[in-house]
């Protein structure tokens, strides 16, 4: 193979060289023509240069000659003598002829050159055609050569390939034969072994056949027996089958019937279902309609309710307003009446005193009654304060809660006297601090930014609402409960409390009254004012509260009747009071007064008679004086003098 490639490479190289040489041979002609052309150009340039020089020289000389001739013409014009002119003309002619000859010569020379050039051209053409012929020849030759060599090369390559192929063929054939022989030998071996094996197998087969026959017989017998048993079974099965079939048929019939029935039922049920559906739909629609209706009704009722509530509230407000007004008026009237009564009483006392001192000459002592000392608005207020404060506190709890805890000045009026302001306050603070669990966390969050006092107020409000303390009474109950509890559980503190109780004796009475209504603690002895709420341990507060709440559950119902009783007793007191007022003077004095009256009337009668008589006497005296005066007048008049008989004389005379 390698030598093959080498050969082809060599051939290729040879071919390339041949091609190169051939092209060089062909292009040689072109190169030769080129160099010829260059030489020609050089020569041509030289010749042209000479020619131009020559022409220039010629032009110069001829110009000189021409100038000479023209000069002579000028000369000739001046000549007068004809012979001279003739001579001159002749010489001119000669000169001109010479000039022309020169030119002609030049022209002929150039023409000669041209002719040679023409010849040259023809020669060149010939040369060119020769060159072309040569070129063609060479090209053809080259083509021929190249073709020849290519063919040779091809042949050689083909031969080489052929040889190689043959070689390959022979070697392959040999290989093939060898392989075939080996194969044949092996085949023979295989055949022999196979024959042997076949014989073995035949023997085995025979054995097997015998054994199989025996086995077959035994199996056959067994199988026949089996078949018999199976046939019996088959018969049985058939019988059962028959039976089953009949049963099934019967069942089938039954089922068919049932099916029909069920179909009928189904249709009925369907119809029923549809009917029920209709009813259901109707009911649904009715239901929705009613719902709508009721909703509307509900709405109208709620609106009514709201309206009524507002009205009720307004009414309550008005009622409160009127109650206040009534109170006020009642108080005014009360005061007015009382004043009037007092006036009357004082008048009566005055009269009594006067009677006693002046008329009877007895020492008079002013009667000392409680109602007299209580006379005035204070005693009235004390009596009414419980209800009033209750009402006020009610209003306050409704509107803004317990104000008394925060504003001391304001609450001082409302607070019952039985507990001092400080103690209540402290108790409440304690309560507030200890029972924070009763307050909602939301509220705590809201309370954080508020002031301390407001904080306490709101907290207490929440705690009271949680504990169920609604009225001021409850509050007082709570406070008292605290106090009592403390007293119960710390008897050591009792000694300290006794001096404190002396400080506010007014409170005790009120406390007493308060406790009569309360069912919680029935011990009127415990009227001690708490020394200080700090003595109550904060840990006890919860216990106290628990006990208080347990106690408060019971008295939840009866507060209303208590209130009513209180009110009735008040009115009875009023009437007693008024009656007492009316009977401020005892019956003895009245009787005295009556006797005195009658005596005095008699005395009066005497006195009046005397007075009448006195008046008569006086009037008679008056008449007497008047009459005297009149008599005097008459006596003093002039007429009397003029008269012949003076009356005076007469009178005197008679009188005399």
């Amino acid at each position: 193979m390698d030598c093959q490639i080498d050969a082809t490479l060599k051939g290729l190289k040879k071919l390339a060289k041949l091609l190169l040489c051939g092209t060089e041979l062909v292009t040689n002609i072109q190169v030769a023509a080129d160099i010829r052309e260059i030489h020609r150009r050089v020569e041509e340039g030289e010749i042209r240069r000479q020619r131009l020089e020559k022409l220039e020289n010629e032009v110069k000389s001829s110009q000189d000659k021409f100038d000479e001739i023209t000069m002579k013409w000028e000369e000739g014009k001046r000549k007068r003598i004809p012979q001279d002119l003739w001579d001159m003309l002749n010489t001119q002619q000669v000169h001109c002829a010479g000039l022309i000859e020169d030119k002609n010569k030049l022209i002929s020379e150039l023409q000669q050159e041209l002719k040679t050039k023409d010849d040259q051209y023809v020669k060149d053409l010939k040369k060119q055609s020769d060159d072309i012929c040569l070129l063609l020849e060479r090209m053809e030759e080259q083509v021929r050569n190249v073709m020849k060599t290519f063919r040779q090369e091809l042949n050689s390559i083909e031969k080489a390939f052929e040889a190689e192929r043959r070689e390959l063929l022979t070697s392959n054939k040999k290989k093939w034969e060898r392989a075939l022989q080996a194969h044949n030998a092996k085949e023979l071996e295989y055949l022999l072994s196979r024959i042997k094996k076949v014989e073995d197998y035949e023997k085995q087969l025979n054995k097997q056949r015998v054994w199989d026959c025996e086995e077959y017989n035994t199996i056959k017998i067994k199988l026949e027996q089996d078949v018999q048993i199976l046939e019996q079974q088959l018969q049985q099965m058939k019988a059962t089958y028959q039976l089953n079939q009949e049963k099934l048929e019967y069942n089938f019939q039954v089922l068919k019937k049932r099916d029909e029935e069920s179909v009928v039922i189904k249709s009925q049920q369907k119809r029923k279902i549809s009917r029920l559906h209709d009813i259901l739909n109707n009911l649904r629609s009715k239901y929705t309609r009613q719902i709508r209706q009721f909703e509307e009704e509900n709405q109208s009722l709620t609106s009514d309710y709201i309206r009524l509530v507002t009205q009720f509230k307004e009414l309550q407000k008005a009622m409160r307003h009127f109650a206040l007004l009534d109170d006020k008026r009642f108080r005014e009237i009360w005061l007015m009446n009382e004043e009037e009564a007092k006036d009357l009483i004082s008048k009566a006392f005055d009269v009594d005193r006067i009677i006693h001192t002046q008329h009877l000459g007895l020492p008079w002592t002013a009667p000392d009654f409680w109602f007299l000392r209580n006379v005035g608005p204070i005693s009235q207020q004390q009596q009414r304060s419980a209800t009033q404060i209750l009402e006020e506190v009610l209003i306050q709890t409704e509107e803004e809660g317990m104000e008394e805890a925060t504003s001391e000045t304001e609450s001082y009026l409302d607070l019952p006297k039985q507990v001092s302001m400080k103690t209540t306050r402290k108790i409440l603070m304690l309560l507030c601090d200890e029972s924070g669990f009763l307050i909602e966390s939301k509220l705590l969050n809201l309370l954080r930014p508020l002031e301390k006092s407001e904080c306490y107020l709101l907290k207490l409000d929440a705690i009271f609402s949680a504990l169920g303390i609604e009225s001021e009474d409850d509050l007082y109950k709570l406070v008292n409960f605290f106090l009592k509890y403390r007293v119960h559980h710390s008897p050591s503190s009792q000694e300290r409390t006794s001096p404190m109780s002396a400080l506010d004796p007014g409170e005790q009475t009120d406390l007493e009254r308060q406790k009569e209504g309360s069912l919680v603690g029935g011990e009127p002895e415990e009227k001690e004012v708490p020394p200080s709420p700090t003595l109550i341990h904060p840990n006890d507060v919860l216990k106290i509260l628990e006990a208080f709440v347990m106690g408060l559950r019971k008295p939840r119902d009866p507060p209303a009747p208590v209130k009513v009783v209180k009110y009735v007793r008040d009115t009875s007191k009023d009437s007693a009071y008024w009656e007492a007022l009316a009977t401020v003077l005892p019956y003895a004095t009245q009787n005295l007064w009556d006797a005195l009256y009658t005596a005095l009337e008699k005395y009066h009668l005497v006195l009046t008679q005397r007075a009448k008589l006195l008046i008569e006497n006086n009037s008679l005296e008056k008449q007497n004086t008047e009459l005297q005066m009149l008599l005097q007048q008459y006596l003093d008049s002039k007429i009397n003098s003029e008269l012949h008989v003076p009356p005076t004389q007469v009178l005197r005379a008679p009188t005399k």
């Binding site: 290729l12 071919l15 390339a16 091609l19 190169l20 092209t23 060089e24 062909v26 292009t27 040689n28 002609i29 072109q30 190169v31 030769a32 023509a33 080129d34 160099i35 052309e37 260059i38 022209i107 150039l110 023409q111 041209l114 051209y121 023809v122 053409l125 070129l135 090209m139």
Partner: protein
């Protein structure tokens, strides 16, 4: 009758049914003969097309048998198939009624095989795309057809050569220009290359005598300019939407001994119209204008119109009279286009022109091939080009043959050879490199691994160094061959040189 035919058509497989049909056949033939009467002659068998569709191929067997029964002399071989007859008819009347697109593929092929190559182009040009037809046209018209030069398309070749032929024989003011313009709509989609190697001048009725002895210079001929304009390519080129290559020679070919200078006049008006034409043709890739006496001014006019041309890749102005100014214009074109090949062979470029070209070349990244054969750039120009090659990284082919170069250029080039890795081919033939220059070039070659061709023929180099350079080139070629294991690279130098040979 109709029902019978229907029953004839339907039964197919079983033998029984076939037997029954055969009996029916006999009866039906009898019926048909009686009904059709006197028309059993052979040509009448061609059925009208409506009938033939209904019958199809299944029924034809039955009919054949029937006919054989009637006419024992008739055989299937004599009567051509209907389709063939139709095809024949179509072929015969193709000129008047060209039917091709509607046919089935096999029928189309048959029609194309039988069409005459002489059909008018107006019929065939836009209708027939089949290569085999156009191959017949070409081979009939021209004995030598080199289809590879026309992109392997016979149709393109036919139209290109046809158009070239018309242009070659167009005589202004006597030939009707409509002749060419008529062809334009037919060939506009197929012509990609236009290679006209002669343009005839207008006819002059009186053969004028030579106006002067010194009439070889072109300047005198320009006096009689208006009369010697050639065919204006403008309209034609504007119509050819796929034109990519334009190869023109404003001259007369094969004039032989009838040589006259004014046969080879490329007038200024020709030049301007050509410039406008190539400027308008945006698809143009290759433009060649050789052997047309293009001097500096004309070259500048042409090159100015080519500046910033979107597609131009090759410019060939060889065998003209372009001088230094033209070379400078070409240098400007190098930096204002994507030119890949520039050929200025056999012109009059001297050192100045070569310097400007070198300047443009120094930073150019498009140009692959530069040909300055048979100019006269001498050592100055050669040195400038060598300097430019030290920075250039694109040029692969450089031809400086016949430029009067000598040793200094060779020393510089040897330095370039040591540095440059893109050049693959240099031609310094027909110069005066000298012995020392040859040695220096050999030194340069010893470091080079890319150069594949280095022509030093007839340049006074010692044979020894030339041989050694040849060895180095062989080694390079071998290396290149191994780099690219494609064996076709052997032939590439030959094919590359191929088009150059006829030019020389």
């Amino acid at each position: 009758m109709q029902s019978m035919q229907a029953t004839l058509g339907t039964p197919t497989s079983s033998a029984l049914s076939r037997f029954s049909t055969s009996t029916q056949d006999k009866s039906s033939t009898a019926g048909q003969t009686s009904s059709t009467g006197p028309q059993p002659s052979r040509p009448s068998i061609i059925p009208p097309p409506s009938k033939s569709k209904g019958w199809g191929t299944g029924a034809s067997g039955g009919r054949m048998r029937r006919i054989i029964a009637e006419d024992p002399e008739w055989s299937l071989a004599i009567v051509p198939l209907l389709t063939e007859l139709c095809i024949q008819h179509i072929v015969e009347n193709f000129q008047n009624n060209p039917i091709l697109k509607q046919l089935l593929p096999e029928h189309k092929q048959k029609v194309l095989d039988h069409l005459s190559p002489d059909l008018p182009l107006a019929v065939t040009a836009n209708l027939i795309d089949d290569e085999s037809y156009w191959r017949r046209c070409c081979t009939q018209r021209w004995p030598v057809c080199h289809v590879a030069k026309h992109g392997g398309s016979w149709k393109r070749m036919f139209f290109e050569r046809h158009l070239e032929n018309l242009l070659r024989h167009f005589i202004p003011s006597t030939t009707d220009p409509a002749l060419i313009l008529e062809l334009l709509p037919l060939c506009r989609n197929y012509v990609r290359r236009l290679r006209v190697d002669q343009f005839l001048p207008p006819m002059k009725l009186p053969p004028r005598p030579r106006s002067g002895e010194l009439s070889e210079s072109g300047s005198e001929a320009e006096v009689e300019e208006p009369a010697t304009d050639h065919y204006q390519l403008g309209d034609l080129v504007a119509g050819l939407s796929h034109l990519e290559e334009l190869d023109l020679v404003y001259g007369v070919k094969d004039c032989g001994m009838n040589f006259e200078w004014n046969l080879f006049l490329f007038t200024y008006r020709d030049c301007h119209s050509l410039a406008a034409t190539i400027k308008a043709c945006h698809t143009l890739k290759i433009f060649r204008l050789t052997r047309s006496k293009v001097d500096d001014d004309k070259a500048r006019v042409l090159i100015r119109s080519l500046l910033d041309h979107p597609a131009l890749e090759e410019l060939d102005l060889s065998h003209n009279l372009v001088g230094d100014r033209g070379a400078r214009a070409a240098a400007k074109l190098l930096s204002h286009s994507r030119l890949r090949v520039l050929n200025l062979a056999n012109n009059q470029v001297r050192a100045l022109g070569a310097q400007s070209l070198a300047h443009a070349l120094a930073h150019n990244t498009n140009l692959i091939s530069l040909n300055l054969r048979l100019n006269c750039i001498e050592d100055e120009g050669g040195q400038a080009l060598a300097h430019a090659l030290q920075t250039n990284r694109c040029l692969t082919t450089l031809h400086l043959g016949g430029n009067e170069l000598s040793e200094p250029t060779a020393t510089l080039l040897s330095q370039v050879l040591a540095v440059n890795t893109t050049l693959t081919s240099i031609n310094l033939s027909c110069n005066h490199i000298g012995l020392d220059g040859g040695k220096q070039l050999l030194e340069g070659m010893s470091d080079n691994r890319t150069l594949l061709e280095f022509d030093l023929r007839l340049s006074d180099v010692a044979q020894e160094s030339e041989y050694l350079i040849g060895q180095a080139l062989c080694a390079n070629r071998e290396a290149a061959r191994q780099r690219a294991p494609n064996p076709s690279c052997f032939l590439s130098p030959i094919t590359a040189k191929g088009p150059e040979n006829p030019a020389g």
